[in-house]
Point group: C2
Chain length 339, copies 2
């Protein structure tokens, strides 16, 4: 494996000169540059990242901690993050953790051992303290969620997310406009710091504005965005509450599980029950009927996240909080309520 030294020997120059060429430093003659570049090609030089990382204060690697990566919603985002990192000269280190794990703790360890320059937290819960964030020691971006509470200085981190409350409101409103009143919500958790809690708030807001009281029996909590849990819960809902006419699922995966439960119960969509969701995974284009969903711009989320982080890293830009828009992807799962 050719090293920088081999190139130096080959060209009869010093290693420092080679290094300068390879790093596009000025102050090196065109002639030398050509010679070195040529030698690098001939000797099949590939830089040794370990050595570079060692001497540099930090490596050019961004960590991506994904909580609950089994959700297909994240797949295109992860892909976009890796791609964008590459385009900006960064490497990505992926770390998938179980839904129950401590993302910031895991992240901090990752940062230290791999000397990461920055961190992206994808699909987590906002339950960090100021100390946790300081312990991270590097800039980070919350991707697909944020700290709604303002109990942490917004300048201390960045975020890219949709307006969860607004979108929850929008989805619920759409059902109300179709005449529904007995609207169930299928969500991960009502927990304050959960990613889906704000969508639940939007749901509550839409209902109360329409003069509909929150019916606890229609609020279906599950766990971990698991499809099987969502399926079980939806099945139970349909058995217990034959009066329900619509379901708002906070994630496409959960909606798809609910649609299966509805079919099993012998009900039709949207004649008997309407379904709407948020996310816009590819699979939801292929359900029967096609799922009506507020689609998040997944690729853009990934790109924007990297862009923000790299801007902070390279240009010392201030942290920012980006809100992206969803797009209503009309399907066939929302209909007028039966008279």
């Amino acid at each position: 494996m050719a090293t920088i030294k081999d190139i130096a020997a080959y060209c009869h120059v010093a290693v420092s000169t080679v290094s300068r060429v390879l790093n596009d430093h000025p102050d090196v003659s065109a002639d030398t540059r050509r010679k070195v570049l040529n030698a690098a090609r001939i000797l099949h030089y590939v830089p040794n990242n370990a050595a570079r990382d060692l001497v540099l204060p930090q490596s050019d690697t961004i960590g991506l901690v994904v909580r609950g990566a089994e959700n297909p919603f994240f797949t295109p985002i992860i892909r976009a993050v890796e791609k964008s990192c590459g385009a900006k000269g960064y490497a990505m280190a992926l770390h998938q953790i179980p839904v129950g794990a401590d993302e910031v703790g895991e992240g901090a360890e990752l940062v230290q051992s791999k000397r990461l320059k920055g961190l992206i937290l994808l699909g987590g819960r906002y339950d960090y303290t100021r100390e946790d964030v300081i312990a991270l020691g590097v800039p980070f971006v919350c991707c697909t969620y944020t700290n709604h509470f303002g109990d942490l200085d917004p300048a201390a981190f960045s975020s890219v997310s949709i307006d969860d409350e607004g979108e929850g409101y929008r989805a619920t409103t759409m059902l109300i406009e179709h005449g529904h009143a007995k609207i169930a919500i299928l969500l991960d958790s009502k927990d304050d710091r959960s990613i889906s809690e704000r969508r639940y708030r939007g749901y509550c807001k839409a209902l109360s504005e329409a003069g509909i009281a929150i019916d606890e029996g229609l609020v279906c909590e599950t766990v971990d965005f698991s499809m099987s849990a969502a399926f079980e819960r939806a099945t139970r809902l349909l058995a217990e509450r034959p009066d329900v006419t619509a379901i708002f699922a906070v994630a496409d995966t959960m909606a798809i599980a609910a649609m299966k439960a509805i079919a099993n119960a012998g009900l039709s969509i949207p004649q008997d029950i309407s379904v709407i969701a948020i996310d816009g995974i590819e699979m939801s284009l292929y359900t029967v009927p096609t799922l009506t969903t507020l689609a998040q711009p997944q690729a853009m989320i990934g790109e924007k996240t990297v862009e923000i982080l790299v801007d902070v890293l390279d240009n010392a830009a201030p942290s920012s909080h980006v809100r992206l828009e969803t797009t209503l992807r009309p399907g066939g799962t929302v209909g007028r309520v039966h008279p």
Copy 2:
């Protein structure tokens, strides 16, 4: 950030001693060991991987190159690989590449720049030459596919896959046993080196054994395992060939796309058309009706792959080629042909 030197200073010992303790070398007194370990804890020591990787001939990192990671089939495998790597003291470096990319070339570069110890190629095509493999320079495992041709010494690499031809045969046979004769196959590519080609062979074998001639109009090639391509192709099939009574899709994702096409055509599953597939992704449990599929043991595939590779790396075990069994996951998409 505490280094090994800080610990040495703190304990009044040499760095070499600290290193020995941290690496569980013998030849260090219980007393010193205790002292050093204690200091490491107090100073929040986290090893610097870059430094370790630099001095060690190779890093303890295994590369995972995934081609076409948008397929949800791979997600649980990737997760299992990362988990198993962690359990065995290795780190995983993920590299997702487009379906069209050169996996071995990309892999080789990854290996060199990150000084990887081994490589896993997930979901690729077997089109390497002997030279490509030598250029890799490290042991590698083909995951979910293999070189069927024997034009490469089996001792030169390992593989973990199902018996693609056998499973293709099994799926097709199941349709034949239900009385079907006009059986279409929906596949990625008939290309020799494609991952799905062997399943197509099994399809051909089953048909010819049953005395059914291959009808080229029922052999539906698409591209890249894309759902949209599969949907288009299935739609065209149904329009052109109203006589078709069953579809064998080589992947669950393609089957789901086909089911949508079938519904759009106003046909019922399984009354008008039966569908069977291979893979067993989670989503296929939630289609209506539930997809009948030959489920691959995804987690086990990931674990086994790592196990084999680590065995080669740690114990200089010979390379091996593992065949795993699928499990028939009966759904509601296969029925008897209409008289």
